[in-house]
Chain length 394, copies 2
């Protein structure tokens, strides 16, 4: 089977990691073009590729040079949040199948642009939300579709990830998050949780997000961190961060379900996506990695759940998703506990076999629009904001 | 020491349980008057009292007859949500120290009435939120006051309690919850979590709730439950419940903290109050009963917290609240894991020794007003509602 020629635009933290942990060893692709605005990143990635025994790819600091069917069969855009949609749109216009890495958009307009470009060009597009391929997310999705949870009522999740070091060292790391946190106050990274939740709740497949409210706490986590860890960085010590430490967003769906998502990246804590699915017959909850099925639980456990913490392993014997059954049998590999390998395998498979993308432009728009809409809601004191119906734009 | 003569108004589920598990064996009181609108409940409670070796109390179905200094030194109001504030106000007007059991109010006006009655009469009043005396809530409060969590930023909690049986059998149990769930859609029971959170965040002691938004999911849990468990109850099978299954309320505080609370009473799940405190130096989380302190956690634990589930026991060695240290040494007793004994001991102690009540009319108003304000917010599609500053009413 002929391998796809893959172009990678963006070689920062995410792009470089994908090259190293997924692309150089993936059986479906060969990396033929790489791009970043920083030349050293391009050179470093090229070395990773050649060290792995592959030919040296085309190297450039101008992403437009990657967008040529002579050079690539498909492209991955792993650039910064404020550039990735424009790049993706150009990619679609060039007729090159595109996988776009995640991260909120800057403006609602970018969501419309993406959908419009997709509808106009019909170039294959996939939004690369790896957490849709998380093991527990897929198990819960499987259980939801089998009806194990009954009628679905509520889901919640969060991006609970202490990023203080990454943000505070943004200058050294050349990471765009620093500027985002200095200048914006919003749910800036909703898709790790909202993606899997949208799949559970059939968003854009008979259901849709209708409206949201967002509320941000004060911003103190980064400031205190910098005072302690970087007291000599005069610029940052005196900086005022716009981004609240905790942003709570509540979404209403057309079928009546609600969703609560939390951005939680600048206070000390353990990593979690807090993925929770609630229905009339049961629930899955990531915090305690447990499944509760109505009628299966003793009165003692009902009152004191500790004994059931971690019981999801037991349910996995019955409800593991087929994708993960196979993956576990074959041997889990690739970045982020295997999710990266799975999400890219899906994308490459769809490109090679001309299949419809499982996470499309409408999904990307619906998930990413939460960022600018949450920003508006926060600025308006928590006022509800309507969420566009991207599948039925007039 | 002379015992307080205690009157109990309301002998439903809560009142009867208090008589049996707390009052008849409490060293500070003797029950001298009891009242309920149902005569059989009065008789049952009287029997519990005499069976415990106490004299038969004054018995009535008219609560006004209890409000006499000839009969009682203090009164506990454990009546239904739509009557307890009016009764409490009458009690204060009669100059009888009053402990009012929890549950949301019907209207914002009741909160103003309570504060006004307290300011006019200065009769001692305490809001009997037992969860303020929960072991972990008090430990986290202690840690917060000691600065262990750093600057406080966010708290969350919920009333996660499957009450489907109680609500669906409301006719048989003569429980007012059934009517509440049929007719209202709101955060109807906020105080188990908002009480301890308010204490952590110094509400009415230098901080206050400023505004809230509330969002309700659809209502399907009770309907499906009734179809399955009470298919012959024609009236309920055909009933439409107003109350959404999950209500998410987000509160902003004057100092910039945010609070998320969840009403979650009509879907299958285990019991929890989900009490969580977040600060710039650490956190406590009830779901996993764990403490996370910045700098104390390994990279492995940070990424995979399972190993630390339940570690709060370890922190209790250092941070147990003094009240609980003594209680554990003396032997925990009384209802709801001892919380009921502690909250009533505090009330009785304040009455006997004429000390200021730790949970006063301003606290009661601030905590209970969430119910009518959430109802308004839900009806207005999640629009933010201002929360009155009850300490500074014009």
């Amino acid at each position: 089977m002929k391998k796809l020629r893959l172009g990678d635009i963006g070689l920062g933290q995410r792009g470089a990691q994908l090259v190293k942990e997924v692309f150089v060893e993936h059986e479906s692709v060969v990396i033929t073009a790489i791009c970043d605005s920083y030349e050293d990143r391009v050179e470093d990635a090229a070395k990773v590729i050649t060290d792995a025994g592959h030919p040296e790819p085309f190297k450039t600091t101008n992403y437009k040079e990657v967008l040529s069917k002579d050079k690539v069969d498909c492209v991955v855009v792993a650039a910064s949040w404020n550039k990735h949609i424009d790049m993706t749109v150009e990619c679609l216009e060039a007729g090159i199948p595109c996988g776009c890495e995640i991260g909120g958009v800057e403006t609602l307009d970018e969501c419309f642009k993406l959908v419009e470009a997709y509808e106009r060009t019909k170039t294959p597009f996939m939004f690369m939300e790896n957490c849709c391929y998380g093991r527990r997310e897929m198990m819960a999705l499987n259980m939801a579709k089998l009806g194990v949870f009954g009628t679905l009522v509520h889901c919640s999740g969060g991006y609970h990830h202490d990023l203080r070091s990454e943000v505070a060292n943004g200058k050294e790391l050349r990471h765009y998050r620093l500027n985002e946190y200095l200048t914006r106050n919003c749910e800036n990274y909703p898709t790790h949780e909202i993606g899997p939740i949208a799949q559970v709740l059939d968003i854009n497949r008979g259901n849709r997000f209708v409206s949201l409210t967002s509320t941000a706490s004060k911003s103190v986590g980064l400031h205190e961190y910098i005072l302690e860890k970087k007291p000599d960085d005069k610029e940052l010590v005196d900086a005022t961060f716009a981004q609240g430490d905790i942003v709570t967003t509540v979404i209403k769906c057309e079928r009546g379900e609600t969703i609560t998502i939390t951005l939680d990246t600048t206070l000390p804590r353990y990593y979690s996506r807090g993925f929770t699915v609630r229905g009339t017959k049961g629930m899955y909850e990531e915090f305690t990695d447990s499944v509760f099925i109505d009628g299966e639980v003793s009165d003692e456990d009902h009152a004191e759940w500790k004994t059931q913490w971690g019981n999801a392993d037991r349910y996995a014997e019955k409800y593991e998703h087929d994708v993960w059954k196979k993956f576990l049998a074959d041997g889990v590999h690739g970045g982020h506990g295997g999710m990266d390998y799975l999400v890219y395998s899906e994308f490459f498979d769809c490109v090679i076999n001309n299949k419809p993308m499982p996470i499309d432009a409408y999904d990307a728009a619906a998930w990413m629009c939460i960022t600018p809409l949450s920003e508006k809601s926060i600025a308006a004191g928590g006022a509800p904001m309507e969420i566009p119906d991207f599948k039925n734009l007039k």
